[in-house]
Symmetry: C2
Amino acid sequence: MSLLVVGSVGIDTIETPFGRVTDVLGGSSTYIAIAASYFVTPIKLVGVVGGDFPKEYFDFLESRDIDLEGLQVIKSGKTFRWGGRYLYDLNTRDTLFTDLNVFEHFNPVIPESYRKTTYVCLGNIDPVLQRRVLEQIERPRLVVGDTMNFWIKGKNAELRETLKLMDVLVINEAEARQLTNEPNLIKAARTIMMLGPRVVIIKKGEHGALLVTESTIFVAPAYPLENINDPTGAGDAFAGGFIGWIAKMDDFSDESLKRAVIHGSTLASFCVERFSLERFKDLTYLEILDRFREFRELSKFDEAITV
Amino acid sequence: MSLLVVGSVGIDTIETPFGRVTDVLGGSSTYIAIAASYFVTPIKLVGVVGGDFPKEYFDFLESRDIDLEGLQVIKSGKTFRWGGRYLYDLNTRDTLFTDLNVFEHFNPVIPESYRKTTYVCLGNIDPVLQRRVLEQIERPRLVVGDTMNFWIKGKNAELRETLKLMDVLVINEAEARQLTNEPNLIKAARTIMMLGPRVVIIKKGEHGALLVTESTIFVAPAYPLENINDPTGAGDAFAGGFIGWIAKMDDFSDESLKRAVIHGSTLASFCVERFSLERFKDLTYLEILDRFREFRELSKFDEAITV
């Protein structure tokens, strides 16, 4: 099966209580594509960078078998840059700067060779652009999308139009509440399902994830990491692991969706171990399988024979 | 096996977005004892009330086979009263009033018939009083305790002394972080284990609970309730379900502790369905067994045959 990923490609500066890195590879589509590349290749990437995008980052993406035909390079422009600082508990972050640069006028153009893609993952970009991507693809089998508070507030009507075209919405806890005005997460998920997506996955960071479909509710734990260096991209790595697994298996039954959520959680847990995408430089599929199995042990319990 | 529970017994006034109740039964030991009473009886209750404590509340406690010999009644005094208001998302609450009344000079005296108790649950009271209870009991097999921000801040040294005597600490997420100055919950649990308890259970409210022992980590989901009326006492009902199960089975292996955490979660999930302790007026053991099984389905997933 084939997977197309659209989203930002950026250069990040990140500060956490455990260190600081400058000009590292970032962006939602980057994290999604690299996480998904462990399950299905090549990944068709759609995005935009400037003439300053380092050769080593192109090389790294290609080393993960990511097809860059859809990555526009605007030689005269600069790549999207973002700077953020995480506070002591890693749950709160301050944005230090956002320089949209070439991303400001991004117009996703889907190459001819990408148009028959079966699976699509819409990273967190303007919902109008997300829709424009879908309009260029011939009936995909499954569309997974993400969004954020900025669009929920600033482009609510447009987002609602795009939601109608999504099969699966992957959204974080605070944003699910914001989108629906509903504090109870199960009710929030059910409200979102009335807006279009038939599957809702709520990412809860250190508390794991919640999958809600018409016929099931599944609670996935987070992996109990003692050393988290950088939470950047964890949500995107989750989405990538999720859609990568679904695309690999070509099965979206409830049971398969549950496994996909655990694969998403697995990729997210590796992502945060090091800064930027560093962990993916040596992460192997065998390590992913091992951690998937560890996830089973984490939440498994048996019934006792009661007296 | 026998179980002794000590803590507050009170009369509550509670406001939530879903209603308001005045002068209802409350208190940490009440919730613990009633939840535990589904697994082991009689429960030996230690606490204090005033002459105003309604007969119907005595009757309700006795109907759950709770032994009230250790419940001091100070005829000339008034029962501890607490008022609280929960905000829109039920995660934040304002205390409207706290009238300690007879609870201010509470001195737990353990009746002779209670002294050979095998299991002890120390509800959230002054750590000095928790220790005074333990001093009057002949070598219990397992001591479970709770505490709160008020004691972590105001009686830190005393709390640390009492922690040395606890086998299991049941504590909420924010308080685990506060006690240890450690934002990472797994590290916080390990730090607490160096203070005395060999088992730490971190309650995460709507996100479930985390069990950490020397040899295991277990992540328990919360039951995905769509209608929560009143979160009061959920943490105490959790502790009661937990210790009740342990006392029933007389087994504190890792596997038994995991099941006990799920039983705690089960009792907490019933507790919040109605105001005060109302849900326990008709809750049956069969309903508990059914929900325990539902918990298994919530977090269960299988490995797929990968290609």
